[in-house]
Assembly symmetry: D2
Homo-oligomer: 422 residues x 4
């Protein structure tokens, strides 16, 4: 007998049909700590999803929690718009000292509103203002957000259809390896730019993710990113790296583009920048691009000071030295060898894997297998999501603070779930 | 000798030129409680701005603060996407029991991402999807947000210019009293709709604020709102009330449209819905409009659970009975009589006032006077902002929890500031 | 027994369903002369439609016919793109000497392609280029053409729906007398322009017909046109008069705006400019607006030299003195008194009339009556069309060369048709 | 001493700066016959341009001229909108009997207005209406016209910039051989269509020229056209062949797509369809696509009856048998061998040639050489134009009625001009 769990009822009766994760994971979660969530019946779940990359430091990280409670206890400003506050100053100083200066990055910092899509909207506005052009180039399978500006540079046809208006001013180009290495990088893009008869509206900017998280864990090679950066310079286009999901150490280094040795003109950060999972985002850009008029872009919650507090604590605790980066790369190797073993075990499934740092994807020949694996993993209390245009990739996004033992536990559940659904 | 306060330096060197409030209020704020902020040198400021309406219950309201700290202490889920959580369920139940049911409102609830502009983007998407049309009608001097969808229905030319693309699919219509009562309500709008040769693209929806906060504290009459609601029904357009700034009791009743006795098809809420000033927003709509596919609109921070906790606490504490509404209306009378006195005192300034509940505007014949009054008020440690297309209106947005004494204090500073700048 | 006339069959089997006039007038026409058409069975029809205003000098005007045949006989260049030709030079010289100089009009002349919509497209491009803005203001019930640029500033909802894309960058404003004189002229338009919060994208230009032919024979008063011209100057917008249907003497003077004493920045001419009904159009603009690069706008048939020949002959024959203008005004009075009589005779029909020169409209309370009158007139062998958003107006467009007797004949048929359908 | 030729003066003082051909060919032409033009001083010019392909039957072709004069003499209807006329019926019957039936083509015929761009606008509207989508795919270096709909699918950046608004709803794809055969045909296009995450808005239709005339005489291979046709069927997109310049026998067969054995869904014809160089165009489509409402698209000059007369005469005279096609292919071989000789003679210039039927291009390594060759040819009284995004190709478009001797004369002048500018 199948019964609707009574505990879910208000979600089903009152909340919109738009809800999605709660359908894959039919539980009511209550508490969380580090890599674990607990539902209201005290079942334990190992989290390899990390709030879609917003919880790089794990759930309710104790160091940040202490700072947060202290701040709330002492009545630190909660909501500050873009007023000067001590919490914001502390964050800015940490960001400058711990992140920008050691990397010799010249960026100005903008608080565009606390969500990723707001940072992307600000980046696109700024690029268009600076260059005086409307067009933006994005890449196949890109994901940049759900508000109309961001959605126009997002690839997913289902999400795009939700816009209700034709999405224009964006043109997709092939992401790295889109043709499995058979076509020269940027052959099409560069030719369109150079050919005065191509019909391409000259772009103000190119927006790219170094690893496409929603798009299927597609990893751009450093040399591809460097070539893109050069192309942008040569063709007078700004390079925007959307580091919302892959920044804050997800791929090893703090910024995902560091490995490639490039300096994008504009960078968006969100998700894990706040450290504790509270809404916060940044838009960074080279000082010469800071042509904003005061108040030209704004937003009520752009001064979410509790997030500034946990953000600063996260930077100070985890990024003052190179330990976090090394650890992430080491954990990544642990994931890689487990995925290799899975693929070797099931050659008949045509499985392959790919990733960087602590973001990995496992893909099967048969697209629907990924969802089956995730569903089985949930039965074993491991939270895993799919990604890719056909949800054909199992996506692994454990916390960066995951222990080797937790990682091992999750990878074993994954292997078992693959086996059981093979 | 003028010196740059050293304490501001990192804001000036690192933060983008886009920052604005910190320019009007050159202080570094540290703590806040109720109607007061404290800067790092422990100066006290009375707050008649309330985070642009996001702090209706005052800064760091102790009831909400207790619930928030308890939740954090016990490791309640912080970041939950749209997973089912106990905190979300508690909020939904409170919202249903305290807000929707007593008002006989049939809405489904969507968490579209934690900012106001995200709620507006979701509302516009949904309206376009339901009606299969692109066009939206907004009103002169409307403000709905800074992402491209919301910006297209926002009136301010300076903000619009920031888009960097032509803003289309929106058409402005005259807000209530735009012609000082000399033109029949909706004469132009209705005629365009009825005339098959008018050139107006048939709108999917109309989006309106009952009181335009950013637009200059323009108050729509209940009969105008009712006529608009009727027009929408007659012409098969959805009515969206953007109650982000005016909802949550700002005008007296929980929803600002209650006074008019209308039931909009879609309602957006944000700012004070979270109670404590943390990012949260809602999009409400009639059940028959809930045609979203799962995941068709999403956003990383749409499950900001600490905000759900403070939101539920605010509803339970302040809205279980009619006390808050009555108190707000009483405080509003106190403001009104003070403004009347100011206008009477300075007839030569051509001053006028308007408002509802606890949102009021004071306008002068000479537009620049408003900024001068606010600047002088800041010197007397009262935070006041301007609004309107030329910043020609002094805007009063005290916390709904302001005491009569605090209100009196602020109103006296205002009167003095007017006098000193007259 | 109803039979499909066999003669129509290839139209019905081969020609697209888009055909329209042939449905109202089910005959196969063969020859034409002056105000008369003859079908293949030698029935005679009196023409009060004049090719939608393209035959101001009547069908196959003998003076022009002579010039045309001579030109063809001597192998004058037929198709000349924008090469210099003797026929084009002769036209330019006539246009300068007969039209521009005597009126002290400073215009440069562009041949934008031989159709009206091409002239409008060129005018809009030029205005946008000069002002660097995208938005154009048009008027309720405007008609400017069917290509996408022109269609976006056309009012008719049925025609607009044919675009297949949302038509943007245009905003309609109320044409003269849209509110029967109850609202001050330009109240709404001017207020939107002056209010920085109105949400109106600042227009590059305003495009207007002095009399809206397709829109229902709506006649703008000279003082309204003057006020519009002043508004354009004050607000830095270009004024485009689309004189395609109303120019070339239709309202009396050669240009329909002469009566108002204004000098538009840009003027479009087509329809009767070629004289003989062959495709030709012009875009005129003040010299300081001539910022086109060579070839920036082009078109294969912009050098339709036979039309230049008949155009020059028409100018030389009819516009060297003021006779044509006087005659048209006199004929107009003849029409007006006949229409007055019809309205007086049928007060129960709520009929009204309006017009200028030789363009007149007769409207009935019941919109469908206009089509019935035209259908009955056709049975009496008078060609009459309807106009207006609901086809509610009988439109009278006799040739300017119509004789008083022909005019009288047609007006009597009209009166009879009204009577018979009353 | 340089003097402005007095004969040019009115062009320079009165005509807009937009004029272009008259700059390359500074003469004032007066008469024309067959392949020759004569200026007002009776200099003779051999025409290898043929009105940009509008004069396939030569200037003032005597057979058509006779029919035209007869029609005018007998007062045949000149201007007929879309009324049924005997001239139109005769044309439709000829078109059906001579063109459509023998080729087993099922098309309905629409008269969309007399210019090519109007036919393209109609085709795009219809495709969008049928499919309910906005997006159209065009090809690199496409040219489809100057009105906003056509311009959005045209490649040339200079022409596009003239629009004054961002041109959207179109996406360019690589034309045949865009990468010199190194990339598989449709690799990029097909992948974008199949990938639900590509970001390509699903197109309503694809518009293509079989040989790009303005784009540089780029010839699509029959197998590429067949693959495109198959792709359109597979992906539910309509295939529009813009045969405005390449139809009417330019490439040999009447339709340029016959060689490939495909049947496009929609075909546009203009330029030479009228035969005599007078404005006329057609939009053809499969009967099941004829979803137009009566009058949904219209245009004043869509019934240019003199052009119907010459069009029918041209069909009857030249297309009743296969002679014209054979002759064109033979003449094409004559051109090809002359171009081969030129290229062989000047290997140091890196010259290459390409073409089909009687449309050929000669390209040099150094782009500016093409203009130099054309300028020199003009000095030798041969009219030749350049094409391509950098005007880097000498374009040969002699009349299809050119004699072998005339062809030889022109090709010798061309060879000499290349030699003299080498």
């Amino acid at each position: 007998m199948t019964i609707t769990p009574p505990a879910l009822s208000v979600f089903e009766t009152l909340e919109s049909e738009v809800r999605s994760y709660c359908r894959s994971w039919p539980a009511v979660f209550d508490r969380a700590q580090g890599s674990y969530l607990y539902d209201e019946d005290d079942h334990t779940y190992l989290d390899f999803f990390s709030g879609a990359g917003a919880l790089n430091y794990g759930h309710n990280n104790p160091v940040l929690k202490r700072a947060l409670i202290d701040y709330i206890e002492r009545d630190g400003i909660t909501h500050g718009l873009d007023m000067g506050t001590t919490a914001k100053r502390a964050f800015l100083e940490s960001f400058q000292n711990v992140i920008l200066r050691p990397r010799d990055l010249p960026y100005k910092v903008m608080f565009p509103g606390p969500t990723g899509t707001n940072a992307v909207e600000a980046a696109l506005k700024l690029a268009r203002k600076v260059k005086g052009r409307e067009s933006i180039v994005s890449f196949t399978n890109a994901f940049h957000g759900m508000s109309l500006g961001s959605l126009a540079v997002t690839g997913n046809a289902f999400k795009r259809a939700g816009a209700g208006i034709p999405l224009v001013h964006g043109t997709p180009m092939p992401f790295d390896n889109y043709f499995d290495g058979t076509v020269e990088d940027f052959l099409w893009f560069e030719r369109l730019l150079e050919d005065q008869g191509s019909g391409l509206n000259k772009p103000a900017a190119v927006i790219v993710e170094t690893v496409q998280g929603e798009g299927g864990i597609n990893v751009a090679r450093p040399e591809w990113l460097r070539a893109l950066s050069e192309l942008c310079k040569r063709q007078d286009m700004l390079l925007i790296v959307d580091d919302i999901q892959m920044g804050c150490g997800r791929t090893g280094a703090f910024f995902s583009f560091e490995e490639a040795g490039i300096t994008p003109d504009i960078v968006t950060l969100s998700k894990s920048i706040g450290g504790y999972g509270m809404p916060m985002s940044l838009c960074l850009f080279k000082p010469e691009l800071d042509v904003w008029e005061p108040g030209e872009h704004n937003g009520t919650f752009r001064g979410n000071n509790p997030a500034f507090v946990t953000a600063a604590a996260a930077l100070d605790s985890y990024w003052a030295d190179g330990h976090m980066e090394k650890q992430t790369l080491a954990r990544g190797e642990q994931v890689e060898s487990a995925l290799r073993a899975i693929c070797n075990e099931h050659t008949q499934l045509g499985a392959s894997y790919r990733g960087r740092g602590l973001v990995w994807g496992l893909e099967f020949e048969e697209p629907s297998r990924a969802a089956a694996v995730c569903a089985r993993a949930f039965e074993h209390h491991l939270l895993l999501e799919t990604s890719g245009p056909q949800s054909e990739v199992v996506k692994l996004l454990p916390a960066l603070t995951v222990t080797p033992e937790e990682l091992d536990e999750g990878l074993r559940i994954l292997a078992r779930s693959v086996r059981e659904t093979a």
